[in-house]
Structures are given as structure tokens and as C-alpha cells.
């Protein structure tokens, strides 16, 4: 068996085992994730030695499915498995009181397997299949508490939003395969020009849906109705990351126009989502908006032509954001909710979780020597030096400033107030999960130097002093503002608008929800019409049949008439006293009458009618072919 399968198969087997055994589900899922991590590490070690492995599986004619292990895919695979493992450890504690454990762990394992397949996919068909699978899994997980209307609603909304954007991926893949002639992802576009621009814009659309970029950001905040481990996995290493991974992997295929659009969307998102995060009154929703904002920064780096910087920020963000979410889940258990009013001062009561949260928050803001400092510097340096620096530079800096501000605000809420708490079950597991991720969140930055050298992508320029100083100043000012100044004063009149999620013209409900419903209603109406048409055809057929039946009755009467005539002849003949013939004729008449009646009962269906149609059709076929051959 090829080593490329090692990260994918264990979680897949774990998902099946959980479904079949229905006991020990947490242990099975955890074992699957751990083995997947081991497989990923093995791939990475192989990739460091320069062995790129490729596994071909049978697929479409001339388009085999392929799994590829290179430096980048192996690195992402390790990141996915690491986050998955610690989130599952945490979930053991978090989900202790919940029912439906088997369902939860089975879907989480399937989610991990699908994400590993997506990360390692070497061709577009497999990528697409994995992409659809993670969409399905996230739908199931966000709607885990499907009894609660807001959870079911949020799941449908997430599905609808990401699905409608997925159409872009389908068309883009058609264009890519059509213009390059192969489904391999690594293949460079030879056609270039308009095809590559169109494909790039469509890929951007798909990534915007999954990575919640403006204006498709709304579903991410609502998806908070799911369990917290799900949010942690969704935001850091799986669903939302898939959009950014798509763009990072295809960055080398895209034309400058498409790259510019990507950078612009990222820039707008990082600012808009940052403002939304600042105005949120719920910790989990704040973190969700922050996710959109951070993926905006990654898109800026891709747009500036330095996908390596985006990849580094993706890795740092995966560790940081999962830590933040897991800590938020701890607070949620302590106070029965995540609204800021409920959370005041909870940090004093849960010092371990708060310490992890604070470490990750400072890392996200970009304080040295934590990981976020290095990755954010790479992004800012890319934005200041790459193409479109006049636009992207200021937007990236504004995003950094906003990151500091909302993290400062969150820290203040959690720290100030009275420190009482309810007793929390499963604290040990949850603490292990939080700290297992907080340590890489803090220290990952030290590994960035070696990582850059092994990735076979255009290396980012070394961050100049200007970028470092500007980034650090923005982060510190942001933190100070967030801690010291109340948010209403900070945002002024824009506060209320930001609180509503910066809805434009009725929000996305008006842009996606209503058109989708209109299409659905249209289909419904079409089916009604079709039904009516079919009924009408049926009625016409029936009336034709009735006509046929009437004709047949006449015929029957005629037969009877003949019979009667025969009878009369018979009587006449009998009068001639020829008794033998008389009896024969009588029997014949009775026989004819009997046959007629029998035929009538047999004709209860419409077989004469359907045979007539077949005969007419035969005649039409003959006529067409004859006329064609005569005209030749």
C-alpha cells in the first residue's frame, strides 16, 4: 500500500468502525486521527528527503484519480491531522453529556478523511469529490443539534451558501480540464489568457463561499450554532481552510487579472469582517468573523503573488484559531453560553483555559515571538512589495490593526468582572486539547525559516524593517484601542451597521436565499404544469379511446345485425323444413354473439389504440426514410 493512503484511510476506517460497533466511538475516532497524524508525519519526512510520491487510482477514461505527496501537501496533511487529533481529545471532555456520540465521532472522522483526501488530491476530479464530502460533513456537524431550530437553520444556510458558490468550482474545473487536456492539478495552463482569467475568477467564487469572503460571509457567524469542537475544526483546518487551500494550490495557474481580483476580495474582507468582529457581542461569533478576516489576509498574500506567505499564515492560523475556539468552549461550559454579558470575568475562574486563550490571542494579533508575528509579517511584506501594493498594503495593515482591536476587546471582557463559575465536567481532556494546540500556536514561528526552504513555491521576500515596524505598531495600537476604548466610541455611527453583519440591501438572504427559493418554486410550478399536460394528454387519449369504443359498439351491432339476418335466413330456411342446416346456423349465430361479448371483455384496456399508435409510428418512420432516399 502506498504511503499516500496512510493519512486518509485510518479516519475513514474509524468512521466505519464507529458506525458499525456503536461503542467506544471516541477512542476509535481518536485512534484514527492519531494514525492519520503518523501517516502525515511519514509523508512529510519523505518529502523532506525529496521523495514526491504519486498514487494513481482508476477513474475516468484518461483521467485517473491521483494522490500526490509533495512538501506542501504533506505539510497541510500534518496540520489537518494535528488539529483533528487535539480537537478530538478536547471533544472527549466537551461532549461528555451529549447524546448521539456515535454520530458525532463518525462524522468527525469522515470529515478528517475527506479533508486529508482534499489536501493530498492530485487531480481535479478527486479534489471535487473531497470538496463535496467536506461540505456534506460540515452540514451534518453544524446541524448536530438538529432539534434546535437555529442549528438546523444555520446548517441549511451554510450548505446553501457554500453550495451556490461551489458552482464556480465545477465550471472552473471544466475550463481547466478543457484547456489543459488533463485533470492533473499540477499541470500548468498552456492556454493562458482569457481561459485562465475566467477559471481564476470562478475558483475565487468557490473559495469565497467556503472561506466566507465578503459578500458571502454571513453563514460563518450563524454556523456557531453547532458544537464548539466542530467550529474549531471547521475554522482552522478543514471547511473554511479548503477555500484558501484551493487558491494557494492553483495560484501558479492564474493570470494577473485573476490574482488582482483575489487580492481585492481578500483586502475588502479583512477590513469588513474585522469591523464586524469588533461589533459582535458574542465570543464565538467574534471568533467566526475574525476567521473570515484572517482568510482575507491570506487571499491578499495570494493576490500579491506570494502564496507561501498565505500558506504560512494558514498554518499559524490553524493552531491559533483552534486554540481560541477550544478555550471559548471551555468558557461556554462554565457559564452556559458565549454572550459577552454572560462571560464577564470568566477568565479568572478558568485560568488554564484563559492563559491558552490569551497566548493565542496575542499570537493572532501578531506579537513577537509568537507564530502570528512571523506569518503576518510575511503577509504584510508581500502586500507592500507585490503587485497592487497601493491597494493591498493599506488594507493588510488595517486588517492587522482591527485584529489587535477585537482581540484586545475580547481579552478585557474575559478578564474584568467577578470570577465565579459552575463546575465543569471533563476539564482534564479539554485542558489537554487546548494546550496541545496552544504550544504550536506560540512556537510554530520558529519553524517557518526551514519550512520556506522546503516548499517548492516562489519564496517570499524577506520582511524588510518597514514591514516589521508597521505590522508591530498596527498590532500594538489595535490591542491598546480594543482594551481601552469602548467599541461604540471606536466605530461611531457605523456600529449599528457592523452589528448587523454589514448587510447590504437586505443581506445575502435577498441575494441567495430568495433566488434559490424562487428557482425551487419555479421547478414546483413546472412540475405542476407538466402534470397538467400529462393529464391533458391522458384525457385526449381517453376521448380517442372512447371514440374507438363507440366505433366498436357499432361494429358489434353490425355483427349482431348480421347474426340476426342469419337468424332470419335460418327461420326462413326452417320454414323449408331443413332441420339440420337450421340447427347449424343457429349454433353459428350463438357462437358469433358469444365471441363478440368475449372480445368486448378482452378490450377493456386500450390495446387496439396503442397498437394503432405503433402502426402509425411505423408508417411515419417508413415515410421519412422513403422520402429521404427518394430525394437523394
Amino acid at each position: 500500500m502506498s504511503a499516500v493512503l496512510l493519512p486518509i484511510l485510518p479516519p475513514l476506517i474509524a468512521a466505519l468502525a464507529v458506525l458499525i460497533l456503536r461503542r467506544g466511538s471516541a477512542a476509535l475516532a481518536l485512534a484514527g486521527a492519531t494514525l492519520s497524524l503518523a501517516g502525515g508525519v511519514r509523508l512529510l519526512a519523505g518529502a523532506l528527503d525529496g521523495q514526491a510520491e504519486t498514487l494513481l487510482l482508476p477513474g475516468l477514461p484518461d483521467m485517473p484519480l491521483r494522490l500526490v505527496s509533495g512538501p506542501m501537501t504533506a505539510l497541510l496533511s500534518v496540520a489537518v491531522a494535528t488539529v483533528g487529533t487535539f480537537v478530538l481529545i478536547y471533544a472527549i471532555g466537551y461532549m461528555k453529556r451529549e447524546s448521539g456520540q456515535a454520530r458525532f465521532y463518525a462524522v468527525m472522522s469522515l470529515f478528517l478523511a475527506a479533508m486529508q483526501a482534499l489536501v493530498l488530491a492530485g487531480d481535479w476530479v478527486l479534489f471535487l469529490a473531497a470538496w463535496e464530502l467536506i461540505g456534506l460533513c460540515s452540514y451534518l456537524l453544524i446541524g448536530f443539534w438538529f432539534q434546535r431550530p437555529e442549528a438546523a437553520n444555520a446548517a441549511s444556510r451554510a450548505f446553501l451558501y457554500t453550495r451556490s458558490a461551489d458552482l464556480g468550482l465545477y465550471v472552473a474545473i471544466f475550463i481547466l480540464i478543457g484547456s489543459s487536456g488533463t485533470s492533473e492539478i499540477a499541470a500548468y495552463l498552456e492556454a493562458g489568457g482569457s481561459a485562465s482569467t475566467a477559471a481564476g475568477l470562478l475558483l475565487l467564487l468557490a473559495a469565497m463561499g467556503k472561506s466566507a469572503q465578503v459578500p458571502l460571509q454571513d453563514w460563518l457567524m450563524r454556523a456557531m450554532a453547532g458544537p464548539t469542537p466542530v467550529s474549531a475544526l471547521l475554522h482552522s483546518a478543514t471547511l473554511v481552510a479548503a477555500g484558501a487551500i484551493l487558491l494557494i494550490r492553483s495560484a501558479t495557474l492564474l493570470s494577473p487579472e485573476a490574482l488582482f481580483a483575489i487580492g481585492l476580495v481578500g483586502g475588502i474582507t479583512t477590513v469588513a469582517a474585522g469591523v464586524i468582529a469588533l461589533a459582535e457581542r458574542d465570543l464565538k461569533r467574534l471568533l467566526a468573523a475574525s476567521t473570515a478576516s484572517q482568510y482575507g489576509l491570506m487571499l491578499i498574500a495570494v493576490g500579491a503573488g506570494v502564496p507561501t506567505a498565505a500558506l504560512l499564515h494558514l498554518l499559524a492560523h490553524a493552531a491559533i484559531k483552534s486554540t481560541l475556539f477550544l478555550a471559548a468552549g471551555d468558557f461556554q461550559h462554565a457559564r452556559e453560553g458565549t454572550a459577552f454579558d454572560q462571560l464577564k470575568g470568566v477568565g479568572r475562574a478558568r485560568p488554564w483555559a484563559f492563559a491558552g486563550f490569551a497566548l493565542a490571542a496575542l499570537a493572532l494579533a501578531g506579537i513577537p515571538p509568537l507564530s502570528g508575528f512571523f506569518s503576518k509579517d510575511a503577509v504584510i511584506a508581500a502586500a507592500l512589495s507585490g503587485q497592487g501594493a497601493a491597494w493591498l498594503g493599506p488594507l493588510a495593515l488595517a486588517g492587522t490593526l482591527l485584529t489587535g482591536a477585537y482581540m484586545g476587546r475580547a481579552l478585557r471582557v474575559l478578564w474584568q468582572g467577578s470570577g465565579d463559575s459552575r463546575p465543569v465536567e471533563g476539564t482534564g481532556w479539554m485542558r489537554a486539547g487546548i494546550w496541545g494546540l496552544a504550544i504550536p500556536a506560540a512556537g510554530l514561528g520558529l519553524a517557518f525559516g526551514p519550512l520556506e526552504t522546503i516548499l517548492d513555491l516562489p519564496a517570499p521576500e524577506t520582511a524588510g524593517t518597514v514591514a516589521i515596524v508597521l505590522g508591530l505598531v498596527a498590532a500594538l495600537v489595535g490591542l491598546a484601542l480594543g482594551w481601552l476604548v469602548p467599541v461604540q466610541r471606536l466605530l461611531g455611527p457605523a456600529h449599528q451597521w457592523a452589528e448587523s453583519g454589514l448587510e447590504v440591501a437586505g443581506g445575502l438572504t435577498a441575494w441567495i436565499g430568495r433566488p434559490a427559493m424562487a428557482v425551487a418554486r419555479g421547478c414546483d410550478r413546472l412540475e405542476d404544469h407538466l402534470y397538467a399536460a400529462a393529464l391533458a394528454i391522458g384525457h385526449t387519449a381517453l376521448s380517442i379511446a372512447r371514440g374507438g369504443e363507440r366505433l366498436e359498439q357499432r361494429l358489434y351491432l353490425a355483427v349482431l345485425g348480421v347474426g340476426r339476418a342469419n337468424l332470419a335466413v335460418g327461420r326462413w330456411v326452417r320454414s323449408g323444413d331443413e332441420r339440420g342446416i337450421d340447427g347449424l346456423i343457429f349454433a353459428l349465430v350463438a357462437g358469433v354473439r358469444d365471441l363478440g361479448a368475449r372480445a368486448r371483455t378482452l378490450q377493456s384496456g386500450l390495446i387496439h389504440h396503442s397498437l394503432a399508435i405503433s402502426a402509425v409510428a411505423t408508417a411515419v418512420l417508413l415515410a421519412i426514410l422513403f422520402s429521404a432516399s427518394l430525394s437523394v
Binding site: 477514461p61 476530479v125 407538466l530 396503442s610 429521404a628
Partner: protein, 454 residues
């Protein structure tokens, strides 16, 4: 002579199996009859494997041992075995149980004769052999609906077969030979070619239930035992479509036969799915769906002779169609005949429900299932011979078919709790086997094409 007999050993094995099953029934041993039937057909399949790659004719060119007829055996013999396992549930313990198995095998033999026909007389022989056995099978339950359905089926078959024989007599008169391979010798007499061709389309089209020769099918499927309906929708149909392929291989293209095929394909696909959209009875729905699927076969048939893809696409789609259609009927045998019976199946029988979803998605043509590969190749074959518009119509129809099949899927997962359904072990086996085949064909298609096996 010895060589010829050696090449038709699988057919001989099938014939002996049918006779053996009949003898066991005469001894009032229906169980043994079933065992003989299953073993005989499996042996027949095994004997066929040896022939893979052969391309020759026997008995003076009147019967062909080529890719088409070999794959007909590899597809239809296992399909018949699965149909017999389905039928066992329907007829177990009834009088004359063994005759059902015997008749099924005779009918399959007829389908094999059709699929390998190299002579017009074999077309007639095959049509009669499948026809006579299936009339009796439809009438087997001895109820009013079954008798009526069998009667309609019989009348329809008599008329269409008579038309076919009438048309074939023109071919014989014009070419002086009954061999299909001699058709090109009639180049100077296009009208005779056309007359015979239309007659063959009528005679085989009724068996393949192509619109407008399909009228008997929904009634017969509904009146017959469910297992017989499943069989009718697969074995005689594939036999007839393969026979049509054997005939059109030798037709001169100037006659415009491909355009007629395209027209029938559009009619069958569109009418089948539209009619299926308004059915509440699952069997009638599947009947109309199988009419529509016949239309898809025509996309490959009209490319025969001009495109390399034509034969592989027809064979692969036939295998895929046999697996998914038998599977869907097997699930209907478990759940029930109306849409209401399916409500809540997702909860009471989750595995069976998942299997049904697999079959229906495969019928729609969604990757990586068998139906997708088959349709993909059929579309490619049609585009290959400049019938792009037809491929577009077929793709639109596939989208329409999603609405048809979702009508079964939705109640399975939305409806209230249905009473738990009894599950016969053999039915479960049939469902399992067909699900496995649906996946294996879907994933293994590339392998088979690359290795030049189909």
C-alpha cells in the same frame, strides 16, 4: 462442426440447465430445480470467460461469437441468477414453482440467441423464444391483472413480430440470403433495405420497449410478479438492443437509419421520464424509467460502425443498467409497490435505503457509480459521430431524471416511521450483489477499456 459446437458450449450449457430444471420440476423437486438452475448458469458464465477476445462466427456465419455476444452472456447469465433469487421469494411454495426457473432460463437463451444473431432467422427465433417464455411468466400468478397484462403483451408481441417477419422477407427477397452480413449487397435497392430495417426496429423495439412501441411494458410490469418485471426490464431488453446493434453494423449509412435512431432516442428518453414524473406506483415509475434508459442505449447504437467507443459504451451501460435496475427492483420487493411504502424506509431499514439511493443516483448518472461511466461513454460516442445535439438532449433528460428518482428518495428520508419491513436473506443478497456491481463497474471501467476487454 466440432469447432462450432465447442464455441457455443455456453449456450448448450444454458439449454441443458433449462431442461434439467424442468425435469427436476416434473419430479416435484422445486428446490433441486433452483439449485440446478443456479449452478448451470454459473457454469455457463465460467465457460464464457474462456472465450473472451474471440471474434468469429459459427454455422456458416449465422451465429456470431464476438465481443457483443460474449458480454451478453457475461451480463445476462448473472442477471438471470439474481432474477431467479428474486423470483424465489415470489413463487416459493406455489404450484409449478420449478417451471418459473425453467422458463426464465429458456427466455434468457432466447436473449442470448438475439445478442449473437448473424442471420435474420436467428432474430425471429430469439424473439419467439424470449417472447413465449415471458408471456407465460407474466401470466403466472393467475390473477385478473396478470392475465390481462399477459394477454396485452401477447397481442402486442404477435403483431410486432409478424411485422418484423414480413419486413425480413423483403430482405431475403432482395438479397437472396438470410445472413445479416449480406445486407450491403442490396445497395441498389434502398427501398427494400428501408422496409426491412423499419420492420426490425418495430420487432426489436417492442422488446426493448422503445417509444412508441412501449405500451405493453407498464401494464405488464405492474401485472406480473415483481421479480418477473425486474427480469423483463433487463434480460430481454438487453438481448433485443444487442441484436439491433448486430443488425445496424451492416446497414449502409446512406439510408439515414442513424437519424431514425436519434429520433427514437429523443422520444424514448423524454416520454419515459415525463411519464415517470407523474406515477405514484413505484413499479410503473421504474417501468417508465426503464423505457427512458432504453433511449440512452440508442446513443451508442447509432454510433456503431463509425466510432470506436460505440461497442464499449453499449456493453458497459448494459452491465451498469442490469446491476442498478435489478437492484432497484429488489429494493421495491423489500419495501413495497407504492411510494407510500417507501416513506420512512431510511429509518426502519437504513442500509437498504442507502442501497436504493445508490441505485437511483447511478440511474441518474452520478460519479463514481456505474451509470455515470456508461452514460459518459454513450455521450462521447454520440458526440464522436457528430450527434452533439442528441448528447445535449440526453444530458438535459438526465437532469430531468433526477426529479423522477428524487420522488422515491425524498419520502424514504422524510416520511414518518413505517412499520419495520421483513427482510428475506436472499433479497438482501441480491441487493448487496447489485450494489457491489454498481460500484465495481463504475470504478473498474477504465481498467476494462484500457485492457481492451470490452
Amino acid at each position: 462442426m466440432g469447432r462450432d459446437l465447442a464455441l457455443i458450449i455456453p449456450e448448450i450449457a444454458v439449454l441443458l440447465t433449462a431442461v434439467g430444471a424442468l425435469i427436476a420440476e416434473m419430479l416435484r423437486q422445486p428446490r433441486i430445480s433452483l439449485i440446478i438452475a443456479v449452478i448451470g448458469l454459473v457454469v455457463g458464465t465460467g465457460l464464457t470467460l474462456r472465450l473472451l477476445g474471440t471474434d468469429t462466427t459459427v454455422f456458416g456465419g449465422s451465429f456470431r461469437i464476438d465481443t457483443l455476444s460474449i458480454w451478453a452472456k457475461l451480463i445476462l447469465l448473472p442477471a438471470t441468477v439474481l432474477s431467479m433469487l428474486l423470483a424465489r421469494v415470489d413463487v416459493r411454495g406455489s404450484a409449478r414453482e420449478g417451471t418459473v426457473y425453467s422458463l426464465l432460463i429458456f427466455s434468457t437463451l432466447g436473449a442470448l440467441v438475439l445478442a449473437g444473431a448473424g442471420d435474420t432467422m436467428f432474430l425471429v427465433l430469439g424473439a419467439l423464444l424470449t417472447g413465449l417464455a415471458t408471456f407465460a411468466l407474466v401470466a403466472y400468478p393467475d390473477t385478473d391483472p396478470a392475465t390481462e397484462a399477459a394477454m396485452k403483451f401477447f397481442v402486442f408481441a404477435s403483431v410486432t413480430t409478424a411485422i418484423m417477419i414480413f419486413g425480413l422477407s423483403y430482405w431475403f427477397g432482395a438479397s437472396g440470403s438470410t445472413l445479416i452480413a449480406d445486407l450491403p449487397s442490396m445497395d441498389t435497392m434502398p427501398l427494400a433495405v428501408i422496409l426491412g430495417f423499419v420492420a426490425v426496429v418495430v420487432g426489436l423495439g417492442y422488446k426493448a420497449s422503445l417509444v412508441p412501441f412501449h405500451f405493453w411494458a407498464p401494464d405488464a410490469y405492474e401485472g406480473a410478479p415483481l421479480s418477473i418485471a425486474a427480469y423483463l426490464s433487463v434480460v430481454p431488453k438487453i438481448g433485443a438492443l444487442f441484436a439491433l446493434t448486430q443488425v445496424v453494423r451492416h446497414l449502409p449509412p446512406e439510408t439515414g437509419w442513424a437519424a431514425v435512431m436519434a429520433g427514437l432516442a429523443v422520444l424514448s428518453m423524454t416520454y419515459g421520464y415525463l411519464a415517470a414524473l407523474v406515477q405514484d406506483n413505484v413499479i410503473r415509475l421504474l417501468a417508465y424509467s426503464s423505457i427512458a434508459q432504453s433511449g440512452y442505449f440508442l446513443l451508442g447504437i447509432l454510433a456503431v460502425g463509425s466510432s470506436e467507443l460505440a461497442l464499449p459504451s453499449i456493453i458497459l451501460f448494459a452491465a451498469a443498467y442490469a446491476a442498478m435496475n435489478l437492484g432497484a427492483f429488489a429494493v421495491a420487493a423489500i419495501a413495497g409497490r407504492t411510494l407510500n411504502d417507501f416513506s420512512g424506509l431510511g429509518r426502519s431499514r437504513p442500509l437498504i435505503a442507502i442501497a436504493m439511493v445508490v441505485f437511483l443516483l447511478s440511474l441518474v448518472g452520478i460519479p463514481p457509480l456505474a451509470g455515470f461511466v456508461g452514460k459518459f461513454l454513450l455521450f462521447a460516442a454520440a458526440i464522436d459521430v457528430q450527434f452533439t445535439w442528441l448528447a445535449v438532449v440526453a444530458i438535459i433528460n438526465s437532469a430531468l431524471s433526477l426529479a423522477v428518482y428524487l420522488r422515491i428518495v425524498v419520502p424514504m428520508y422524510r416520511g414518518g416511521d413505517s412499520a419495520s419491513v421483513e427482510l428475506d436473506a436472499w433479497l438482501g443478497f441480491v441487493v448487496f450483489a447489485t450494489v457491489a456491481a454498481t460500484f465495481i463497474i463504475g470504478l473498474g471501467a477504465q481498467f476494462m477499456i484500457v485492457r481492451d476487454i470490452v
